[in-house]
């Protein structure tokens, strides 16, 4: 396998019988503000073309096992920061040089050329940029031979998948308002585009029409039929009337229709979070918007149903403060914050700019899932519920202590770093999928963890969604009291591995050879 540098290779044998210990009482979640650990002010700035966007891409670009990040600055500088936190230490970052790019709205990491070094797709108002990772956090413009067509639109969303039989990924670019339309900005949404591979390069841009001002896109095998579709969440503020939430079949390329059971749904769509939280293996989605933040339960057979109000995820208005107007949601992401075995939900909130209809002081949400499947707001008590104009974010373990930390990009205010300092959190496992190229990170795989009580946690490895923000980080599972679990992977080609037992509280590099047996190696 190319370029895998495992400093300490250890087969994770399993000896003991699986623990049947009861789950501990849910730990009280706490966070410590490490925003000052950034060497300079990083914020998302600019005029109307940067009211939306403001993403962050998280990737380990120097292969030291610690996640680094690239933050969009809009009209202000976009910067790369390398992680200088020690393992389990206080989170800190140092700036690292990267090409100066203008009008950046967001970014997503992905290994384009299968060399197992992550590349960076940078979204911009204007031509987008594809940066090739060279190692040691150095990035260069993608070679001309890659055939990357940058476009000229105002790009605000992205997703990628590896289609069957292809050696390179398929990239989807979602665009916002067509700024060249003299009748705009309303009802003037631009087309979206697909870049499909042609051998080891990209072919011509394929329009995805109609476009409805896409602020989030996600390739997901949401029906678990082995065929990922492209979900597009669209902003009604600009499409106004004749738009909708979209789902695209990739082959042949066509939107889902009402006739096949895809209902017309209109949102001020800003972000997509996707995760199976009901335990049936089918990913639910959260679609952020103005007012209600919609959690849709995946009922199977292509049916999504709005969760009951009592689930506690609608978060329509600020949960504290003295501003009672509706919220504005942006990035949403699931993650088990207290490792109790139940996924929690972070939603970045903030007024677009000066919309009197919506709260000006709009706190971010940290919704902690309870044993009964409902969610309880902890944004206020943990301090992460700040009221800046938050946009993109990442829920990721920044210091390898097994606790998910938080990066939040703010418009007109400094980026926030929150270190998860939850005491008595549960056990955890982080799965770093690797596969033989070209899809070196096994995008499209499903990872299943079987807990001692028989519950199965499922995560799909995707690139896209959120709000202009993406992560190439190990998949994090909270496990409660489980000291050992079983693990299997449904690889993107459909091969299902055997179950493998492993201890917990590890970052595991998981790969395969010709057999269905997983290869597990502990990362230091």
């Amino acid at each position: 396998m190319p370029l895998i540098k495992i400093k300490r290779l250890a087969w994770i044998a399993t000896f003991a019988t699986l623990s049947g210990a009861a789950l501990p009482a849910a730990a009280e979640v706490s966070f410590t503000d490490r925003s000052q650990a950034l060497p300079l002010r990083q914020s998302y700035e600019g005029e109307w073309n940067h009211y939306v966007g403001g993403g962050v891409a998280v990737l380990d670009c120097n292969d030291d096992g610690l996640p680094d990040f690239f933050a969009a600055g809009g009209a202000a500088p976009s910067r790369l920061f390398v992680n200088t936190s020690g393992k389990s230490g206080d989170i800190s970052f140092a700036e690292h040089p990267i090409a100066s790019l203008s009008e950046v709205t967001g970014a997503y990491p992905i290994d384009i050329d299968g060399d197992d070094i992550l590349d960076l797709v940078v979204l911009q108002d204007g031509p987008n940029t594809l940066l090739r990772g060279e190692g040691q956090c150095n990035f260069t413009a993608a070679p001309t031979a890659w055939g990357f067509q940058a476009g000229s639109e105002w790009t605000t969303s992205f997703s990628a998948t590896f289609e069957a039989g292809q050696s390179w990924p398929t990239l989807a670019f979602g665009n916002y308002v067509d700024e060249t339309n003299p009748d705009g900005p309303f009802e003037a949404c631009d087309k979206n585009y697909l870049l499909r591979p042609a051998a080891r390069s990209f072919g011509p841009r394929i329009p995805l029409e109609p476009g409805f001002c896409a602020l989030s896109m996600l390739f997901s095998d949401w029906q678990r039929n082995g065929v990922p579709d492209l979900r597009v969440s669209n902003d009604r503020q600009y499409y106004v009337r004749n738009g909708r939430e979209q789902m695209w079949h990739m082959t042949p390329l066509a939107e889902y229709t009402e006739a096949e059971g895809w209902p017309v749904m209109k949102l001020w769509g800003m972000g997509i979070a996707s995760r199976d939280i009901t335990g049936d293996g089918l990913p639910e989605v959260v679609l952020t918007s103005m007012g209600d933040q919609t959690l849709q339960l995946n009922m199977g057979k292509g049916v999504m149903k709005n969760a009951p109000y009592a689930t506690g995820t609608y978060s329509s208005v600020p949960y504290n403060g003295d501003d009672g107007r509706a919220s504005t949601g942006w990035h949403a992401e699931f993650g088990d914050i207290n490792n109790d075995g139940r996924d929690d939900l972070f939603i970045a909130k903030g007024n677009v700019e000066q919309m009197p209809s919506n709260a000006i002081h709009d706190p971010n949400n940290l919704l902690i899932q309870q044993a009964d499947g409902s969610f309880v707001e902890k944004g206020g008590v943990t301090g992460v519920g700040t009221t800046e104009r938050s946009r993109g974010a990442a829920v990721v373990d920044l210091n390898k202590d097994g606790l998910l930390d938080l990066l939040v990009v703010n418009r007109r205010a400094p980026l926030e770093i929150w270190q998860n300092t939850t005491a008595e959190a549960g056990h955890w496992l982080a799965i770093d999928l690797r596969d033989a190229g070209p899809n070196s990170r096994a995008i499209g795989a499903f990872v299943e963890l079987r807990l001692p009580d028989g519950r199965i946690q499922t995560q799909e490895h995707t690139v896209g969604g959120g709000h202009a923000s993406g992560e190439a980080s190990p998949l994090h599972f909270g496990l409660g009291a489980a000291e050992q679990v079983e693990l299997r992977v449904i690889w993107p080609d459909g091969q299902t591995s055997d179950w493998a037992r492993t201890a917990t509280n590890l970052i595991l590099r998981v790969s395969r050879d010709a057999r269905p047996t997983l290869l597990l190696a502990e990362e230091p």
Partner: protein, 443 residues
């Protein structure tokens, strides 16, 4: 006297109640800021000029007209997209309105008084010592500086409302900026309106003559416009010439029936607990169980038809369905009544108001005056999901009051004594003959 024998305790209680009844100081010049005649005249022109609205079809006076007691004579008006005035107003088929304005247009009597510290039925503009600058506005810390008073700050917001004055989507440069969320700054909606006004030579000259800084070369900002409009409203809609004012000044007694009503108002009926002071409002919020009609205080991205009143501003559940106590000055001229104008008749409203929530169960729209238009959401929303009458009823804290029919009539007579002949005549200045834009005037 029916009670022949009274216990000493009751006598004591009654004496204390009389002693505690606050002496109400009459309104005087000291209660109102003073402005130059030129500033007032400039403000009058702007108040009546449709140029301030995005599509140039509606002025402040369209919904705050002296013919209707500085309100509009309907429950829930059509703002942008309406033609005609008062109960005759109807949807313009060429620019069909999207929905009714969700609240009854408030009367403007004495809004310029220093004591008028809460504006709008939910107080989203109000004096607030806990905030920088001493007030709150919907823009919070984004709010511009340069407005001279709370009333001036208030004036800056109806022009931003798509359903009231701005218009929708890309219909005009103002509505486009508003929908984009661009309000302040050189590229914002307020400056765009100011540029319109500055482009009219007569206004440019008038602003120079009124404001020395503009004469010295500073461009006209929207705050200058709002300051002038506030000066006009303060002057023209000052109302302290009612029989009750004469009574407060010790100049004349009320009629016997009105006097009986006054005593009830401040005594047994308890009206004066909230309708207090010379402005007849405590400038705070009470849930009185008025029926909710119309689209509700819901944004386009919300499906409900509720209006939770103050809670939508304060985010405090204790404020649910509470609305600012309205001033009762010239109340006989300002029908319909309630935050949504759900009652066209004052005595009907008062009977419901004395037994808060009593009218909810069998309320019907015949009590309202609604300009004809096709509406997307029904005017009387059905069920829990919509306007939530159960929650409205549950929020009521005020006790029911029982009055005899003569007592009720006395209170009505007292309310009639709050009517100022000058208000009946339409204010001090009347309707201007023309405005600098040359646009038509609502008469």
């Amino acid at each position: 006297m029916r009670l022949r024998f009274v216990t000493p305790l009751l006598v004591l209680t009654a004496t204390m109640a009389l002693a505690e009844a606050p002496a109400i100081a009459p309104l005087s010049d000291a209660d109102f800021p003073q402005f130059s005649t030129a500033e007032i005249a400039l403000g009058q022109a702007l108040f009546w000029d449709r140029e301030l609205s995005g599509n140039r079809g509606i002025s402040c006076a369209t919904c705050h007209h002296p013919r209707f007691g500085t309100s509009d004579g309907v429950s829930l008006d059509i703002g942008e997209g309406g033609i005609g005035l008062g109960p005759d107003r109807k949807a313009d088929p060429k620019n069909y309105p999207e929905q009714r304005i969700p609240r009854n247009a408030p009367a403007l009597w004495n809004v310029g008084a220093h004591g008028f510290t809460v504006l709008f039925a939910d107080g989203r503009i109000e004096a607030d010592s806990s905030r920088a600058g001493g007030f709150r506005t919907p823009l919070e810390d984004e709010m511009v500086t340069g407005f001279a008073s709370l009333l001036s700050a208030q004036t800056m917001f109806p022009v931003l409302s798509s359903d009231e004055m701005a218009g929708h989507y890309e219909e005009n440069e103002i509505s486009t900026l508003v929908r984009q969320g661009r309000i302040t700054g050189p590229d914002g909606a307020w400056e765009a309106i100011a540029r319109r006004i500055a482009a009219i030579p007569a206004y440019a000259a008038d602003f120079k003559s009124v404001y020395p800084e503009i004469s010295a070369g500073r461009p006209i900002h929207f705050t200058d416009i709002s300051n002038a409009v506030a000066a006009y409203m303060t002057f023209d809609f000052r109302s302290d010439g009612s029989p009750y004012d004469a009574f407060l000044r010790g100049e004349a007694a009320l009629s016997d029936q009105a006097e009986a009503g006054r005593v009830l108002f401040y005594g047994k009926a308890g009206c004066g607990n909230c309708h207090s002071g010379a402005l007849l409002t405590d400038m705070t919020y009470h849930a009185m169980g008025d029926p909710q009609i119309g689209p509700g205080k819901a944004e386009r991205f919300e499906r409900h038809q509720r209006d939770t009143g103050r809670m939508r501003v304060s985010n405090n559940p204790a404020d649910a369905y509470a609305f600012r106590t309205p001033s009762l000055r010239n109340v006989t001229l300002t029908a319909p009544y309630g935050h949504a104008g759900s009652y066209r008749d004052l005595s009907d409203y008062l009977r419901h108001h004395m037994a808060p929530g009593s009218g909810l169960a069998d309320y019907d729209l015949s009590h309202a005056i609604l300009p004809a238009m096709e509406v997307g959401k029904p005017d009387l929303a059905p069920g829990e999901e919509a306007s939530n009458y159960a929650a409205i009823a549950n929020a009521i804290k005020a006790p029911a009051i029982s009055l005899s029919e003569p007592e009720f009539n006395s209170i009505m007579a007292f309310l009639k004594a709050l009517e100022d002949p000058l208000a009946v005549a339409g204010g001090r200045m009347g309707i201007p003959d023309s405005v600098p834009s040359g646009l038509p005037i609502d008469r």
